[in-house]
Symmetry: C2
Subunit: 246 residues, 2 copies
């Protein structure tokens, strides 16, 4: 991942609210000059959100786009009879919203406590027109999301329950600790409760729970707190997720 056109400037040129913000590095704001950043920051609003409350109120109805500052956002699709499927998970500094396009039946909800940095749609769309690099960054994020969606299509369509859970743990691990450590052991904090994991993997809560104890009995993981899991062997977990060998 490259920093693109981001200029190397003194922090003093950069708006206070943006100085420590991840969106200036991996996110779309990295495409902006300090002067543009200053202009944009005049219109931004920071908000906090609790789990399981739809971000729509803030995002859709109030006509804003947002950067995720912290926390995890789940994108969900619903069927009329109540069945649901999580079709994407987003982490800081991902961009939330769909310029040039509709949201096509996807609902965004906070999975954990979430902090957002939001801007009016009209303002951001103007910035995109002025700065093609911004659309390029958005394009790159969407390609990453497409790759992730396809990876999960394979998981949903072809993997067994235990393989699905193993794949999920590895996906979370890769977000917690992007640079793979040398160590084969790793502690992760699950950002999703069991019902969310089930909705993500196309399983039931009970099956998720059973496969976690299954992994524990195999000695591949330890479950401390319900949300805190120690992966005792990344290798074994990888083999399980990709080859299906126990």
């Amino acid at each position: 991942m490259n920093d693109g056109k981001r200029k190397d400037v003194h922090n003093s040129d950069i708006p206070l609210v943006c100085q420590a913000c991840e969106a200036r590095h991996g996110g779309i704001c990295g495409a902006l000059e300090p002067s543009q950043l200053l202009e944009l920051s005049k219109h931004t609003q920071r908000t906090a959100h609790s789990p399981d409350i739809a971000l729509e109120r803030q995002a859709e109805r109030k006509e804003v786009y947002s950067n995720i500052l912290s926390g995890v956002v789940k994108l969900t699709k619903l069927m009329p009879d109540g069945r649901q499927q999580i079709v994407g998970l987003q982490f800081a500094p991902d961009f939330l919203g769909r310029p040039f396009s509709d949201n096509n039946g996807v609902v965004a909800e906070a999975a954990t406590n979430v902090r957002l940095c939001s801007f009016p749609k009209a303002v951001l769309e103007q910035f995109i027109k002025d700065q093609p690099e911004m659309e390029h960054r958005l394009h790159e994020q969407h390609m990453r999301e497409l790759d992730e969606a396809r990876e999960w299509m394979l998981t949903l369509g072809r993997k067994t329950a235990i393989e699905k859970v193993a794949s999920f743990l590895l996906m979370i691990a890769s977000h917690i600790d992007p640079e793979k450590e040398e160590s084969d052991e790793l502690e992760i904090e699950l950002p999703l409760k069991r019902s969310d994991i089930a909705d993500f993997l196309g399983l039931t809560i009970e099956t998720v729970s059973r496969q976690l104890t299954n992994l524990r009995k195999k000695g591949i993981i330890d479950v401390n707190d319900r949300k805190s899991i120690v992966i005792k062997s990344l290798d074994q977990l990888n083999v399980l997720a990709e080859y299906g060998t126990s």
Copy 2:
């Protein structure tokens, strides 16, 4: 869908090979001026491909990107033990290939007879830099693909076998006949054989076959030739795909 910056010009300004080409309308070539089209057409090569032969030889190794002129291309992901999942279907005038990004374990294969229009990667990437509208079109296609992938995540994760098959038939129908006719009846030609449909829906060949006869017995479809299917009630098929009611 808008034609964007495409100029309204006499066909005589447009290279012969491009005149009847769909890619000038829905596809990325619509972003180009006649003079650019002429320049690009000097480097293009048209090729034909038979089903189940990887397009990689032509596409990856020979370092080209392509527009689909006709036919259907399947994007497949593979597991080491042979399990596979189709993660995308592409129709004319879709663009094949991934500028700025890797292909991330996806293999492109012809599902039917396919004709492509290919250009060297370097040439196309130069055009994209000169013409931001071209990246915008590519971005739009990727957003469509993302929406489709998420739609199929719901199908793969949460629908039953018969619902999956119904959803598949409707998806094909929407590509054959984008403008929904008034009629509740419609004949479609399946571009995929049963094993492809199975790999697309996360099922086995046998289950696909059984659910097709199941739909036939319910009077919702007729099966003529194995590839030719008459949808006798689009309404009933829609209800089945989205609500799961029989």
